[in-house]
């Protein structure tokens, strides 16, 4: 039996911009949870979201039963935001006084070809608002760290490390190891390093 959750169901949202590896990392996290004995319902939005679109993954974790694939509004427990605007978008929809947020502060500009707001908000104010709306916030400079490690695509694994380091998911580092090995057989070492870097950053 998997260990008790701080809340059942525990609703995790992973959001970002298509092309950042959101779905891939959500899959690794989802599989790790299944291997740890949890019931997982994993809702994804894709379809016509090519590169550059907003992407969200809903992961509902339970000890008891399967929940529906869409998280009800205001019922997010943990938000893993790979981009500040996308993090704020999720806080608007799923926020509540207890929500905890792990956020990558690197902005990705957008073109809204259909009119409406096009200006990217002031990034410092946006991050301050994210902290204000979350009960706890971990700002993980994942893109910057990933670039230092030689490839910006590692940001998603660094952020997953952030979730583990923040100790808010019922997952240990070792439950990730074998899955990373399975997913990235050729690039395991660099991904494992990225995971550890994320854990360190969340703890510091």
């Amino acid at each position: 039996m998997a260990k008790q959750l701080m809340k059942d169901p525990l609703n995790l949202i992973i959001s970002g911009v298509a092309g950042q590896g959101n779905v891939l990392i959500a899959m690794v996290i989802g599989n790790a949870l299944v291997e740890n004995g949890y019931q997982v319902m994993f809702g994804q939005t894709f379809g016509s979201n090519q590169r550059g679109g907003s992407v969200r993954n809903y992961i509902r974790i339970s000890n008891e039963t399967k929940y529906s694939p869409i998280i009800p509004q205001g019922h997010g427990d943990i938000i893993l935001g790979m981009e500040p605007i996308e993090t704020m978008r999720m806080l608007k929809e799923f926020g509540n006084p207890n929500v905890m947020t792990v956020v990558n502060p690197r902005a990705i500009m957008s073109i809204d070809s259909r009119g409406g707001t096009t200006e990217y908000p002031d990034i410092d104010k946006l991050l301050a608002d994210i902290e204000k709306l979350s009960s706890k916030t971990w700002v993980i400079n994942a893109t910057e760290e990933a670039q230092k490690m030689g490839n910006p695509i590692l940001a998603n694994v660094i952020l997953a490390g952030g979730l583990i380091g923040a100790n808010i998911l019922p997952l240990e580092k070792n439950s990730f190891e074998s899955l990373l090995q399975e997913r990235f057989p050729k690039a395991f070492e660099i991904n494992f390093k990225a995971l550890n870097r994320g854990i360190e950053l969340a703890k510091s």
Partner: protein, 604 residues
């Protein structure tokens, strides 16, 4: 073996473990991953068919030959396949035949919402609806058994949420060894639908429905979950999950078989509860069937007809109907300013962009997104469109599409406008996969009826919008083997078009020249614009940059609509992580100031 699988993956595993030997499909969100998953197994034949009608016909032939067969498609695909689908109903099957039909409530990526359960009523075939991935897996085996036992095609209806959500599946079965001989037992009265035989088959179809209704009464797929008697909920598919969350204490009749209805079971359930409601997505399919039985029931008076359901939507409806006193109030954060959206766009390096830029400039349609003006309204060029990534050219700054209806419609629509008497130039724009799917017959029509339109085939060498599936023009099969390549220019010339040009998608001069001469031509012209989809190109070239000294902010480059070209602090700037570089260079070619160069500053 327990695995985290999407509904589509689970359906594929279910079919595989049920012994399916042939699988056919045409890609379409949200159904595409069914065939993609099943094509990875070696001991099954899987094909991307040219279109859904062909997929259904190939499947029909395979099942006549005695093997278990699945055919999968999105909801609107069944519109295309409706003719052989109806035929499958009347002839029945030999080996089991299961149609997986994926509806798209909420119109996530379709031209319409439609509830395909109506098709099953029309064709008089049974419908199974799974509520999660485990049921999707389990139901496939049952669907094949029903198909063979009752001599009928079986429809398994999923929806976007079921197809694309992942949950844990216990893959409890394994693939059986092939049984029985493959062979077609000639049976004229069953397989040759001459009127005399069709007349004889129709009563058998009606009898089949009576027997199936009896089967539905006792099938474990239809189950009662007893709870409090003040509220009874009849539901199916993903709606079951939402309803369970909103009414945790109610009694449930969960229907896995939604056509034909288990009437006695429903009557008994209705008698056990004080208030009976139906919670279903899209049309009141179950509700009307139950009401027609004379049972008092409500549903669509508080559950929307339109769009996708969710726990929130069902909860709000329940409050309005007085079933719940208050929804679980979301704390809601309203004090946040509007955020910029990220609508889907043509990608950086998209091979469709150049031709659209040319057509839009010739039709004087280019306008920045924030201008609020729609120049396409008074353009001297009409552009009929089709279904694919390129439909995104509808939006500013390109404004380069005026119609989109269904697969292949662009060519017939253009011809119709011409024949109605429109005297401006008319261009039909269609992708390679869509052209092969259903653009050939309207092109034959335009040849035969002496149309003068211009047809642009955007050939990016893949089915891009659904995630890069192979098609007859790629020369590769669904299972990754080399296949005979159907050459578009041969097809076009072969049906009788003499004015055919093949141009490089990234050469602006060539594109302009081809468009000018085709539009000026007094006869039917076809331009094939060839260039690989940018998402499929593994190597990126040297990105382009803007020389701020030369740039005079004429902003022509911004009218391309490339997501890599942005303005930052009043300067035009190219995001080098997005720019694909050498393979594209459209911005460099259109810049009047020659201010766009490779990063190293060298221009040829």
């Amino acid at each position: 073996m327990k695995r985290l699988l999407s509904g589509n993956e689970a359906l594929a595993w279910g079919a595989y473990h049920a012994g399916a030997r042939v699988a056919t499909a045409y890609p379409g969100t949200p159904s595409t991953e069914i065939l993609e998953t099943i094509a990875r197994f070696d001991d099954i034949y899987a094909e991307w068919s040219t279109n859904e009608k062909v997929a259904m016909e190939v499947a029909l032939g395979a099942c006549y030959a005695g093997v278990r067969t699945i055919v999968s498609m999105k909801h609107v695909g069944l519109n295309v396949a409706a003719d052989p689908f109806m035929a499958a109903s009347i002839t029945g099957v030999n080996g089991g035949l299961v149609l997986i039909c994926a509806d798209d409530p909420g119109t996530h990526s379709s031209q319409s919402e439609q509830d395909n359960r109506h098709y099953a009523r029309l064709a008089k075939v049974p419908v199974l609806e799974p509520s999660d991935s485990q049921e999707a897996y389990d139901m496939m085996a049952i669907a094949f058994d029903i198909s063979e036992q009752f001599d009928t095609l079986v429809m398994v209806r999923t929806t976007t949420r079921i197809s694309h959500s992942k949950s844990v599946v216990d893959l409890s079965r394994s693939r059986p060894a092939p049984t029985g001989e493959v062979g077609f037992p000639r049976n004229v009265s069953k397989y040759v639908m001459l009127p005399v035989n069709a007349r004889f088959r129709h009563p058998l179809v009606e009898e089949r429905m009576v027997k199936l209704a009896g089967f539905a009464e006792t099938s474990p797929l239809n189950r009662v979950e007893s709870g409090e008697r003040n509220l009874g909920v009849i539901t199916s598919g993903v709606a079951y999950q939402y309803a369970r969350e909103v009414f945790p204490d109610a009694s449930f009749l969960k229907l896995g078989i939604t056509h034909p209805l288990p009437r006695e079971l429903i009557r008994r359930f209705a008698g056990q509860v004080d208030r009976l409601v139906v919670i279903e997505e899209l049309d009141p399919f179950l509700e009307e069937g139950i009401r027609a039985m004379g049972v008092e029931v409500t549903g669509k008076d508080f559950i929307p007809l339109v769009g996708e359901l969710s726990t929130d939507v069902v909860g709000k409806g329940a409050v309005s109907a007085g079933i719940l006193t208050e929804p679980p109030v979301p704390p809601g954060i309203t004090a946040v300013a509007d955020l910029p959206k990220r609508p889907p766009l043509l990608c950086p390096g998209c091979p469709h962009t150049g031709m659209f830029f040319v057509l839009a400039s010739m039709g004087q349609r280019l306008k920045p997104p924030d201008s609020g003006d729609n120049p396409a309204k008074k353009s001297n060029l009409i552009i009929t469109g089709d279904i694919g990534c390129y439909t995104l050219a509808t939006y500013p700054p390109l404004n380069a599409m005026d119609t989109t209806a269904c697969m292949g419609a662009s060519i017939g629509q253009a011809l119709g406008m011409e024949k109605a008497g429109i005297d401006t130039n008319i261009v039909a724009v269609i992708g390679d996969s869509t052209f092969l799917h259903s653009g050939i017959t309207p092109l034959v029509d335009a040849v035969y009826n002496e149309g003068k339109i211009t047809v642009v085939i955007l050939d990016n060498g893949t089915t891009a919008m659904t995630g890069h599936q192979e098609h007859p023009g790629t020369g590769v099969s669904a299972q990754g083997n080399k296949a005979t390549k159907v050459e578009l220019e041969n097809v076009v010339r072969g049906v009788g078009v003499s004015d055919v040009r093949v141009v490089d998608a990234f050469n602006m001069k060539e594109l302009r020249a081809a468009a000018r001469s085709a539009l000026a031509s007094p006869e039917l012209a076809v331009i094939i614009v060839r260039g690989a989809c940018a998402v499929g190109v593994p190597q990126r070239g040297e990105p382009r940059v803007v020389d701020a000294g030369k740039c005079n902010r004429c902003d022509v480059c911004l009218l391309i609509g490339c997501p890599a070209i942005q303005t930052v602090d009043d300067k035009v700037y190219i995001d080098t992580t997005l720019c694909v570089g050498d393979i594209c260079t459209i911005c460099q070619q259109v810049c009047p100031q020659k201010a766009i160069t490779p990063v190293t500053g060298e221009t040829e």
